[in-house]
């Protein structure tokens, strides 16, 4: 691939989005913003697939590096513009590319303030790509926070229900997570003397430059600051309450991006900073705290699943299931010590894979819910039912998404969860117990998923007071079918031949311990 490809992936959508926002419709020009956005994200998707496959796994390490040293070029405060990908971030770049395209397809029926909508959607995609590609912590933070503005507008202008409330809640929670992150990043900087991630992992704490930088902040404090910051974004049990609101009230495309990509920022941060960097700073923090993370993770799985079962809103149900699925990420994260004790990295590899598969599965589920809602104008499950006769394709794909979500072998969700369970169970003691508890999450997942599909798509046709006009329902059109097929194909391919992604993650995770 040519140099500068990652910078192109980041800034191409941002700049073209802003150009669309300013120039697309005026006296002289009348651009079809929908087709243009489709084209732009299509290019993004193809390029991200190419980038993914041209990453050299035998070489490993960071590749496709672009840098610009004099961003903030001061001896006392040096931040660089540096982007690159390794085995951990390459699949997430791919995920962003695929979901960005699907999100635009899901927005084809937007009528209100079109050019602004597509401007923010494109900016969002570029910024999120930036988060996964940044190798400089301050740069990562810049992208992390910059994502807020597009999300706020997207949720509150084009959202439904209590959109303003949800958008503000999302904003405040994410700003809090960003605030903690900034403190963590700066503390890390003054403890190590650099913002560049691989400098920290190579040289470790107090290892670099001059002793002027070393300040007395305990490493465990910095670790916790980061952990809480990422847990808010993930979201983990006590700080998850923004997620159902934001998801439910967001427009379909934004739910896809939110569940598919933005939540992954939290998981990516945990792996990249709390595992990768702290493995070099002080491995004992992670090994000491791992049992607690296992317990929190398992609890989050079960708690999220129990909340999910009670939901009657189709979209809210899937939103809550994300809380449960992200619990697996924290559970897998707790198996950090496995490499030292058992010499395996399944747990962490599974965690990374869970990020990818959950992105595609939930992305597909939200897409289908959105398409259903566009037709039925209600998401209240008791009002639905019997949709299969009118919408066989939507129902079929929803069943696939549901099966993948509950971990049916042959689909991608199964591989990720299995790897996490195996990795964590090997650790024994508390980890094994937590794993046993968390496995029941799969059972609960089967319960809420199958029950939901049964009630909403099969089941009794029409209640008396249902607002759904069953005569006017139609099935997927060609463009929608394309986006659904892309996601389904990803799910099936990863399910049948997981090595395509896991090889990549294994390179990334393996390097944490061998770099």
């Amino acid at each position: 691939m040519p140099g500068g490809i990652l910078s192109f992936l980041i800034f191409f959508p941002i700049i073209s989005g802003i150009l669309i926002g300013i120039f697309s419709q005026n006296k002289y020009l009348n651009v079809n913003v929908k087709k243009t956005s489709l084209l732009i994200t299509g290019i993004q998707m193809i390029l991200s697939i190419l980038v993914f496959f041209s990453y050299d796994k035998t070489l490993g390490g960071f590749q496709f590096i672009d840098y610009f040293d004099s961003w903030i070029p001061f001896e006392a405060f040096t931040a660089r513009y540096i982007v690159g990908i390794d085995g951990l971030s390459a699949p997430l770049i791919l995920l962003t590319g695929i979901l960005g395209f699907c999100a635009v397809i899901a927005s084809m029926n937007i009528q209100l303030r079109q050019k602004e909508y597509f401007m923010w959607l494109l900016v969002l995609q570029g910024v999120v790509t930036g988060v996964f590609a940044s190798l400089d912590l301050l740069l990562l933070f810049v992208f992390w926070e910059a994502e807020l503005i597009p999300m706020y507008f997207l949720i509150s202008i084009w959202g439904s229900g209590k959109a303003h409330y949800s958008a503000m809640k999302f904003l405040i929670f994410t700003l809090t997570s960003g605030a903690l992150l900034l403190i963590g990043i700066v503390s890390l900087y003054f403890a190590t003397g650099t913002f560049t991630m691989f400098d920290i992992t190579e040289l470790g704490l107090y290892g670099i430059v001059n002793s002027n930088f070393s300040i007395a902040i305990p490493a465990i404090f910095i670790f916790f600051i980061f952990f809480i910051g990422f847990a808010i974004k993930l979201p983990l049990f006590p700080v998850h309450s923004w997620l159902p609101d934001a998801h439910t009230d967001a427009p379909t495309a934004v739910s896809i991006m939110l569940a598919g990509v933005l939540l992954k920022m939290g998981g990516y941060g945990l792996l990249r900073i709390n595992v990768d960097i702290f493995n070099y700073i002080d491995p004992s923090i992670l090994t000491d705290l791992a049992p607690y993370f296992a317990i929190i993770g398992a609890f989050s799985v079960i708690y999220g699943a129990l909340l999910t079962i009670q939901q009657t809103d189709l979209k809210r149900l899937i939103a809550f299931s994300s809380v449960s699925h992200m619990g697996y990420v924290v559970l897998g994260f707790s198996s950090y010590g496995a490499f030292a004790s058992v010499g395996s990295t399944e747990g962490l590899g599974g965690t990374a894979l869970q990020l990818f598969t959950h992105g595609t599965i939930t992305g597909l589920a939200f897409l289908l819910v959105g398409l259903t809602y566009e037709r039925t104008h209600t998401r209240y499950i008791p009002h639905l039912g019997g949709l299969v006769n009118k919408m066989p394709l939507i129902t079929t794909f929803f069943v696939i998404a549901g099966f993948a979500s509950l971990g049916l072998p042959g689909l991608s969700g199964f591989v990720a969860e299995l790897m996490i369970f195996v990795g964590t169970f090997k650790m024994g003691s508390i980890w094994a117990i937590s794993t046993i508890v968390a496995v029941f999450g799969v059972v609960l997942a089967a319960a809420y998923t199958l029950w939901m599909i049964q009630r909403a798509y099969f089941g009794e046709r029409v209640q008396e007071d249902s607002p759904v006009n069953f005569d006017q329902l139609d099935d997927l059109n060609r463009l929608e079918l394309l986006s659904v097929l892309i996601l389904t194909a990803t799910i099936v391919i990863v399910g049948i031949y997981p090595a395509i992604i896991t090889d990549m993650f294994n390179v990334g995770v393996g390097e944490i311990f061998t770099r």
């Binding site: 004099s70 961003w71 903030i72 070029p73 001061f74 001896e75 006392a76 405060f77 301050l138 933070f141 810049v142 992208f143 926070e145 910059a146 807020l148 503005i149 706020y152 507008f153 509150s156 202008i157 303003h164 503000m168 904003l171 405040i172 700003l175 809090t176 605030a179 900034l182 403190i183 700066v186 503390s187 900087y189 003054f190 001059n210 002027n212 930088f213 300040i215 007395a216 902040i217």
Partner: protein
């Protein structure tokens, strides 16, 4: 002996003073609606050009010492840099005032003359190196403002002017009291001599030597008095009422220009006259000032319904952020490679000046069109007054500190310096405060762009041309320095190393 060179160095002030008289005299003969404002802008522009030219000259020759005039004024990089900032801000205000202020004022000539005199005081304030001169310069900035507040036809103008007068007099008295303490112990009012005395005192046990405690007490009184100018704890209670009641031009003047001047003298007192041996003592006091200002400003701003009042509380909070940088300056931090708090403070002052000026001028322009300062009336403004609303939103996002804006860079530097100086608690308070501030800044953006009003006609009012040009220039600077702060930070770094 005053030489020609001294006159050249003082030329910005001299031009301003001449300008003040010209405005008054010209007003007698020709009082067409905006003539005085045009003359004022002209003289401010000349003065600003001179000041920028001198700054560029000093910076490019990298003259370390600065030039002293009759011992009480030091024209150095630091003072010229802030002087240029003050003059450029003043120029933006007077340019916008040409069209936007015509109706509100009874006597324009006097108003603009007072404006010029007050700015002269501020430019002098940046270069004083002696306590009494500083006090005189402070008075020269405050007294004309009282006139400016009273010279309009609003309901509350007299009340507001009186409030400002009383508190301003109180703060002046407190500053004088502080100066008296310092003089009583040190026998000098020159910053450099006070600093030398402290060096002699340093190393002695704090309570055994009453003179050191008296000096510290005196300095705290001076800084507290000066906090009136920058609208921070302890003298901030006047801010909301005066900001709301004053003509908006004066509000902008107070919130931007006056704050730069106040900070310039606080920084000079702290870094020129206080020896580094006492830095730990006063840093505690400054941290408390910062923490209280940030918290009170942000919490009170949450429930405001008048946009000027909201901005009043927000400026209190921003004064707090700037003080965080001052509080986190280690002894000798300027000489070592540590990231010095003072650098981040000066950077933040520049960021704040650009951002707040852009925001406030946009508010002035928008409010003039919708004829209200009530935040609720901003509903749907984003559709009617699209251009100005976008500019205002960029400024608000910068005040909130979201990346890609200069405000973010400013906050990142401020909190970094606090963390690097082991003031983690202050950084935490500050950063949580900036999360709180999201609520009220974003609320304005939400009202403008997201809530739709009944009145959906497209852009009907293009706004005042001057304001449009100045605010778009401001917005460009906000984004430019937000993405690439290196240049500005470089200048700031060069400017502050003159201190100490």
């Amino acid at each position: 002996m005053i030489t020609l060179n001294d006159i050249l160095l003082l030329s910005p002030e001299i031009v301003l003073t001449i300008g003040a008289f010209v405005v008054i005299i010209a007003d007698l003969f020709y009082s067409k609606k905006s003539f005085s404002a045009v003359i004022t802008s002209l003289f401010l522009a000349i003065s600003a050009v001179l000041s920028v030219a001198l700054t560029a000259n000093l910076i490019s020759y990298n003259d370390p010492s600065g030039l002293s005039i009759i011992n009480v004024l030091s024209i150095d990089k630091y003072s010229l840099f802030l002087k240029s900032l003050i003059l450029l801000s003043g120029l933006s205000i007077s340019l916008c005032g040409i069209n936007l202020l015509s109706k509100e004022l009874k006597s324009k000539g006097e108003f603009w003359a007072l404006f010029l005199i007050s700015i002269t005081g501020m430019t002098l304030l940046t270069s004083t190196t002696e306590m009494i001169t500083a006090w005189v310069a402070l008075e020269l900035t405050s007294l004309p403002v009282i006139g400016m507040l009273a010279l309009n036809q609003r309901k509350y103008s007299l009340e507001v002017a009186l409030k400002y007068l009383i508190l301003s007099a109180t703060s002046s008295a407190i500053i004088l009291m502080g100066i008296a303490y310092i003089y009583g112990v040190s026998g000098s009012t020159f910053f450099s001599e006070i600093s030398m005395l402290e060096t002699a005192l340093s190393g002695k046990f704090f309570f055994k030597d009453p003179s050191s405690i008296l000096i510290l007490f005196g300095l705290i009184l001076v800084v507290s008095g000066a906090s009136f100018k920058i609208a921070s704890f302890p003298f901030f209670s006047w801010v909301p009422d005066v900001y709301q009641g004053a003509p908006t031009i004066v509000t902008i003047y107070l919130s931007v220009v006056s704050k730069i001047a106040g900070l310039s003298i606080i920084i000079r007192i702290l870094f020129d006259s206080i020896n580094s041996s006492m830095i730990n003592e006063w840093a505690i006091y400054i941290s408390i000032m910062a923490a209280v200002s940030m918290t009170v400003g942000n919490v009170m701003a949450l429930r405001q319904s008048n946009i000027k009042r909201l901005f009043a509380y927000s400026t209190i909070a921003h004064a707090g952020y700037i003080l965080v940088g001052l509080a986190s300056s280690e002894p000798d931090s300027l000489n070592s490679s540590n990231f010095a708090g003072i650098q981040s403070s000066v950077f933040y002052i520049v960021a704040y000046a650009i951002t707040n000026l852009t925001a406030f001028l946009s508010v002035l322009s928008i409010s003039k069109e919708i004829n209200s300062f009530s935040i609720e009336k901003y509903k749907g403004v984003g559709i009617k007054l699209r251009f100005q609303s976008i500019i205002l939103s960029i400024a608000l996002i910068s005040l909130l500190g979201i990346p890609a804006t200069i405000g973010f860079m400013g906050k990142a530097f401020i909190f970094s310096s606090a963390i690097s100086n082991n003031l983690m608690w202050l950084a935490l308070i500050g950063i949580l405060n900036s999360v709180i501030s999201a609520y009220y800044y974003i609320r304005i953006i939400k009202l403008m762009f997201i809530d739709t009003s009944e009145d959906q006609r497209p852009e009907t009012y293009s706004g005042d041309l001057n304001t449009r040009i100045i605010t778009s220039f401001g917005a460009i600077l906000i984004l430019m320095f937000g993405l690439a702060p290196a240049m500005l930070l470089g200048i700031v770094e060069g400017v502050v190393n003159i201190l100490q």
